[in-house]
Point group: C2
Chain length 338, copies 2
Amino acid sequence: MPGLLLDTLHGKTTDRRPVWLMRQAGRYLPEYRALRAAKGGFLELVHDSQAAAEITLQPVRRFGFDGAILFSDILVVPHALGQDLAFLAGEGPQLSPPLVDLALEALQPAPERLDPIYRTVALVREQLGPQTTLLGFAGSPWTVATYMIAGEGSRDQAAARSLAYRDPAALQAILDAIVACSIDYLVRQVEAGAEAVQLFDSWAGSLAPREFERWVIAPTAAIVEAFRRRQPGVPVIGFPKGAGEKLAAYARETGVDAIGLDETIDPAWAHSALPDGLPVQGNLDPLLLRAGGDELEARAREILTAFAGRPHVFNLGHGIDKDTPVAHVERLLAVVRG
Amino acid sequence: MPGLLLDTLHGKTTDRRPVWLMRQAGRYLPEYRALRAAKGGFLELVHDSQAAAEITLQPVRRFGFDGAILFSDILVVPHALGQDLAFLAGEGPQLSPPLVDLALEALQPAPERLDPIYRTVALVREQLGPQTTLLGFAGSPWTVATYMIAGEGSRDQAAARSLAYRDPAALQAILDAIVACSIDYLVRQVEAGAEAVQLFDSWAGSLAPREFERWVIAPTAAIVEAFRRRQPGVPVIGFPKGAGEKLAAYARETGVDAIGLDETIDPAWAHSALPDGLPVQGNLDPLLLRAGGDELEARAREILTAFAGRPHVFNLGHGIDKDTPVAHVERLLAVVRG
């Protein structure tokens, strides 16, 4: 009995919707803040398999979510490709050296840096009930590349977008390396106990349409195809944030088993534009969950209604905001669970 | 004989496309940099009608664009509503006091702050040939409100988006004030010589679908309706950047005469999703114009082809990048002019 979330990702339409929240293992939870205060920085926690497993399990214990998402970060892949990685307080992630003027070959790959993460997955799986689906993940190649090239987050991903025009072969080489590493990374998460995986493409929305085809759809399709060959039957959720009207092409062409919708997407449009029967995930505005109130309840019901005819995993449109009251999560869950 | 741009905005399909570039009066031009070095800061130039008129005319003289866009800024409306406005080097605009915890009534409106801008419009019109269309503009209420509330630019407009959920009446009051001021502002630009106007909605893309209806479409429709009553026959271009699949609703419901497309929009999708005959404007990626090369030429031709059956103003998907070589603009114009 695989559980409601996995059933839904396999295309089963259920009356009671499975629910989990992106970034559910994180700062809005007092038990996470306590553990972090005791144990140190974000990356230290990611690399401490006992702590990371505990953090992954915290929201499942508290709320009984249908999915447990591995506590980690998409930038562990650049780290495994040989960049140094640091999370500086108040400044966000730093990858060095940045690849904006440096060839990929200058990096010394270090795939063993991912080993603690596989141990985390195994520890979580041991402690998780059979009804709760363990979700692994990776960043999508385009989004990961934007960080590797700039060396940090950037407002409009201009460094990577410019490289795409100036030297597409250089960008292709970076993406190829990310694709190869991500396939292994996802396969090994499944070997360690993950039952489905999500590809987070936070910056899919910044590209022009042909660039979207080449740098978002094509590398995602390459991962899905290779992953499926090595792990048949394990669903892949694609989440191309900001893809807007290009979601339909993404759904048709990448081969993902389910598609995550950000909060700007009109559920009625998505239901009509996406292939029949394709599972969707989303898409409540995290800021509405933070704000709470009757509007939260009304909007959650609207989303449930809009996707009544389709396999649907209830989720936010992106990660839960750190200032979200726990009581608002409880209220949302009461609505989704009916 | 009104000129190619105005003809197109009135719905005429032409073989040779009119062309202008968002932010064409600006830092990529050596003559602008020289004038700015001599005369001082950005806001001082906006308020110096002689200088602002000269800057507006510079790109028209150099490139013979079909449109001259007024050199100004969308934040002159909050300034007229009583906020202090400053542009700090390297930090972007600052509006004070921010409205995040302050009622609108605390501001003392100062509509006379817009007077220099009307003088700029008149000075430009005097010096502009009859074939060149003078474009006035304002920010769209939602985008202007995001700055008024946060007091500055912000990555994801979280302050305004949160206010929308926490206290929609407060946000509505701010938008109503912006709408009223913007209508007068646009009408008076036309009285001074503007022949078409554009509403820039840079942050239209950050809203969930019902919020998009309420905070983008409704106030835009209110401006269009009142403006049209007072200035019948003067086209309004709406530019809801990032609207994605919600562009179709925007086009149907706001009443704008033409619609600007950002560079992420697939021209083929836009052509099929937008009402027949609605003029469109766009949508080359500014970063491709900066990069140049054969790809620039190929992509410009694709855009021309995609919109061959529809009134189309060639433009970028947003403002020209300050590091764009002038030679790339010349090459683009050669392609567009055939």
